[in-house]
Amino acid sequence: MSIQPIPETVPAPTAVLRPKRGRSRAPSGRPMWLMWPSILLLVVIIGIPLLIAVYISFLHLDQYTLRSWLQAPWVGLSNYVTALTAGNVIGASALVSLGVSLGFSLLTTLLITPIGTLAALTVNTPYRGRTFVRVLYLVPYVIPTFVTALIWRMMFLNGTGLVDRSLAAIHVANINTYWLLGPNSFWAMVIADTWASWAFIYIMVLAGLQSISSDQYEAANMDGANSWQKLTRIVLPQLRHVLGLALLLSTLYHFNNFTLPFVMFGTPPPLQADVLPLNIYVSSFQLFNFGLGGAMSVITLILMLVPGFLYIRTLRLGEVTAS
């Protein structure tokens, strides 16, 4: 459903096992049929719907024409023009949503990176209670997103939520800040998502730290390096690859995050929190302008191809299988 980190290297087939005897129906033949159910499902449940989505984006399709959608009128690129200029009647245009989505995913990624890295550094060396801290760090990350959204909806509840109360108590903000409406909703969404997702960077960095040999630290100690020098001269350069991958995946994941704003704000969402997936959902399933939703989807897909392509390049599949 969502982008998740997946193995970087694919093992090449280990010394291929061939049927020992020449008989074509030997019991040890290749059971290639084991792949067919997977392929069939991927084609039917993801592949074909993907093509239908592209097709729908060129149609004038609403709840009346949906029943016989194959006969719906072809309108060319007009859905795309509407998506980019006007959007749906209650929401933002795809361009505005795109801005919100980009701002949201990049800003969240930017915020979680130092937090996750710092957290990984706090549990890098053993001490009493470290296991407990490691488990604790993971809790926000493993709470289902719809529950995270409900928790932060309560935190940001106007006038009565913990955030408004605390900020008013220390005279930083008005008790009626309206976090779930208007411009503040963007920040509410960023804060909630930062809370929920920094452990992703933490996990990646922690694993990355383990691959740095202790000789390098010892050499640095010998040279009298301080913490900051160790961090900037040894740790960060070696984590470059891991962090790059983590940032890429994180941006992709946040860009496609539908559940958090959907459950946190309900529909229609405030314009400032009207991320692209939510805009597509509202256009399609609440305003029944399926063609418009389709056009916005295709625009999203085209944008996703850029980080997707970068991701595939970092996996270096060819290199491994060439051996």
Binding site: P7, V16, M32, T259, S297, G308
Partner: protein, 288 residues
């Protein structure tokens, strides 16, 4: 007496302790607030102090009748359970073929698994609905709103990640063991079941948990593809939350209680398998 400092220690201990404390507090505040609200009487939420004058543990009882929570949890369990088990079985089969044989289409298949993961899921919702609706008109059998419809959807979405994960696990199992079994006359399926599956068990657990969570955590597809009888707990809570707006007295205590009950199994699942799961998450990302 000074302990010998670990060479890998990057943060000086005082910095480490302060940072850990700050992070722990930030993690715990929203969770503690949720637990507190779940036992606060609805009349006292937002009035007076944070600590209610009396505890409302009854929220944890009344919520079961306010929403049909038991049905939602049961549906989530059935749907996510079946989806994850089938997804892992199919993924093992595919991963076995990918790691043991060279064939045309092997790399394109692996690439397409990644490609499919970048497809925004909201894009597939309508076409999938249209596809199911068309199929249901063709075969005169209800599909939308049934368990199989949403199960098959989650199972397919879980496949790419599960397959990737198992490809890396199965690839690290040496073939010598299989060769011995094969020369003894075992069939491929017997080898897979008796030799590979037991050895890849940690990988299977990770794949199973992540596939399960794909279904358990989803709101998007369940909101359109389920009917009131097959509705998952995720959709129930979302609907419960949005129905509290504008009402006379929002039942926030019960909402938070239900959230706690829904999140708890997942948090426990993670804690039990923590060691495997963190490894599974980073199986790639990082050089082994």
């Amino acid at each position: 007496m000074r302990r010998h400092r670990d060479a890998q220690e990057i943060l000086p201990p005082p910095v480490r302790i302060v940072a850990t404390a700050v992070l722990a507090v930030l993690v715990l505040i929203p969770i503690a607030y949720t637990l507190l609200l779940s036992v606060t009487p609805d009349t006292q939420i937002g009035t007076g102090g944070l600590i209610p004058s009396q505890w409302a543990f009854g929220n944890y009882l009344s919520m079961w009748s306010t929403v049909n929570l038991a049905q939602g949890l049961g549906n989530s369990l059935i749907i996510a359970g079946f989806a994850s088990v089938i997804a892992v079985i199919l993924a093992v089969g595919a991963a076995y073929i990918i790691t043991r044989f060279k064939f045309r289409g092997r790399l394109p298949y692996l690439y397409s698994l990644i490609g499919l993961q970048t497809v925004p899921s909201v894009m597939l919702l309508l076409p999938l609905f249209v596809l199911f609706a068309s199929a249901q008109a063709a075969i005169h059998l209800r599909i939308v709103g049934t368990y199989p419809a949403v199960t098959i959807t989650y199972l397919t979405f879980a496949l790419p990640f599960a397959t990737w994960l198992l490809v890396s696990y199965l690839g690290s199992i040496p073939v010598d063991l299989e060769e011995a079994a094969l020369t003894d006359g075992a069939t491929r399926l017997q080898t897979l079941w008796l030799i590979i599956v037991p050895l890849a068990l940690p990988g299977l657990v990770v794949a199973l948990v992540f596939a399960f969570l794909t279904g358990w955590n989803d709101v998007l597809f369940a909101s359109v593809l389920t009917s009131p009888e097959t509705r998952t707990v995720a959709v129930q809570l979302q609907a419960f939350s949005s129905s509290q707006e504008g009402g006379a007295l929002p039942l926030y205590g019960q909402l938070m209680g239900a959230s706690v009950v829904t999140a708890l199994p997942v948090v426990i699942l993670y804690m039990v398998f923590q060691r495997y799961l963190v490894g599974g998450l980073t199986a790639g990302g990082v050089k082994g």
